[in-house]
């Protein structure tokens, strides 16, 4: 199964930058966040970058963005380009196809996050006035990578689940974007409006709680449960005989 998965991942990698218009789209998707979070934000924050909110933003937003850009293509893209039936008629197992496509999206998201963090650390240490070597604390880094991995897996699970049924990549991307961006962007202001003044409302209390050990653990557990649910749903939803009409 590992060999089959690596075969599919190889194909996904070869195809990634070769879709019509995808070079420009991927360049913008990669270079803009990389430029802002890897260069501009560290230059502005200086040594405080390692303890500020920016690394968390990199750990949460970049993998999500990368997964949302790539994972909807997993099955909807094959269907749109009329390659799905031939792929399914091959000897590759259901599990190898599914986990390879999921894994590829997660790997890309994690690679994007790690590349940006490494760049940011280089910029902070070489181009800002820091005393000694500035670095993100080990516990914080492990926590960030864990959350990032779970978020990527969750998003990839949701994306593949949507992609299995979507007729086109655009349709899959729009549905996924609605789930991950529209709902939070509507709920956020609603929460803020109902949270009273800006210093002592429930939203502030919630964010304070997130900073505690129990808050961090709870977030990890909730994300892990959601990721397992979505990945299981994707596995159950992936059956050859449901994908060909």
């Amino acid at each position: 199964m590992i060999t089959d998965m690596s075969t599919v991942i190889w194909k996904e990698w070869k195809s990634l930058f070769r879709q019509p218009g995808s070079r420009l789209r991927m360049a913008l998707t990669v270079l803009i966040p990389l430029g802002y979070f890897g260069i501009i934000a560290p230059l502005q924050a200086g040594g405080e970058f390692t303890t500020g909110a920016e690394p968390w933003f990199i750990a949460v937003v970049l993998p999500l963005l990368t997964v949302i850009m790539t994972a909807p293509d997993s099955f909807a893209g094959e269907r749109e380009r009329k390659t799905l039936r031939t792929l399914l008629a091959s000897t590759l197992s259901d599990s190898a196809i599914l986990w390879a496509k999921l894994g590829f999206a997660v790997l890309l998201g994690m690679a994007m996050m790690i590349a940006t963090l490494v760049l940011a650390m280089v910029v902070v240490n070489l181009f800002t006035n820091t005393t000694g070597v500035a670095a993100i604390g080990v516990a914080r880094l492990i926590h960030m990578i864990g959350v990032s991995l779970l978020l990527s897996a969750m998003a990839a699970g949701a994306a593949v689940l949507i992609s299995l049924r979507a007729e086109t990549v655009q349709q899959a991307q729009q549905t996924l974007a609605a789930v991950f961006f529209v709902i939070p962007s509507v709920l956020g202001p609603v929460l803020l409006i109902t949270s009273g003044d800006g210093e002592s409302g429930p939203v502030v209390a919630f964010f304070d709680w997130l900073g505690t050990t129990s808050g961090r653990l709870t977030v990890v557990v909730v994300l892990a449960v959601l990721a397992v649910i979505l990945l299981t749903a994707a596995r159950v939803g992936f059956r050859r005989t449901r994908l060909v009409s």
């Binding site: 060999t3 075969t7 190889w10 070869k14 195809s15 031939t86 792929l87 008629a89 000897t91 590759l92």
Partner: protein, 305 residues
Amino acid sequence: MEQPIVEIDELTKYYGTLAALDGLSLSVARGSIFGFLGTNGAGKTTTINILLGLVEPSGGAASVLGFDVVDESDEIRTRVGALLDETGLYEQMSAYENLWFYARAWRLPKDQAEARVERVLSDLGLWDRRHDPAGSWSRGMQQRLALARAQLHDPELLFLDEPTAGLDVVSAREVRDHLAGLVGRGTTIFLTTHNMTEAEELCDRVAIIHRGRLLADGHPDELLSASGYEVNIEGVNLDGAAEAIVRRPDVVSCVSEDGRLRLRLTTPDPSAVVADLVAAGVSIHEVRRGTHLEDAFLELVREDS
């Protein structure tokens, strides 16, 4: 007696209330080219999808290479190749990369995969352009590349859905010659086509389906004999010549129109009839057989409609 390579027994498939397959039964012998003929929507693609384990049947049973299509479809896919109604090529990847991906998917060892890719690309005259993106190729070349991919792992059985559809005469001929060569090396081919001349030329046996039901099944000559062999004769002094041959036992019908005779015979060999016409004073310029299988096909489909 050798077990058929494909065996279908009372197979049904319903999409809602629509019966795509309605009690289809047939078998395919090893080492043959089996022609599966039918109009659009007759159930050909559904049958292939079921045989490849991509669609579950609503009823009946089918096996490929002795493996059940529902419970053992993984075993089937390991041993067969398929060129479906679309080429299924990754157009942004090169021809070589397309084949390399599927060679690895079929778990060919690296050195064997390299050798196989080179061999099939060379056999189909595509090796020199192996680094071109598949999407930049003509329809004929893409179809040949898809055919190369289908036979990459040396399958015992090839499913080919309209392999020459949309090809020019030269490309179609190259594909047909290639298929004949494959059968010579022991591969069995399950072929769907709308081209009756192709079916007549290539197939050892044909089955005609319509509305998901089998209308006829046999050697092309057997199907032809049911409706008679059509022969068109052009020449001089044909007027009145019909009387000289119409009573022959091998003449089913004889119509004189536009200065030619249109005959339907019980035998594929018109030489005895031609001899009688010459003896009756006809000077013959041309004897041409009609597109026989097409006539038989149309007659069967019209009767069923």
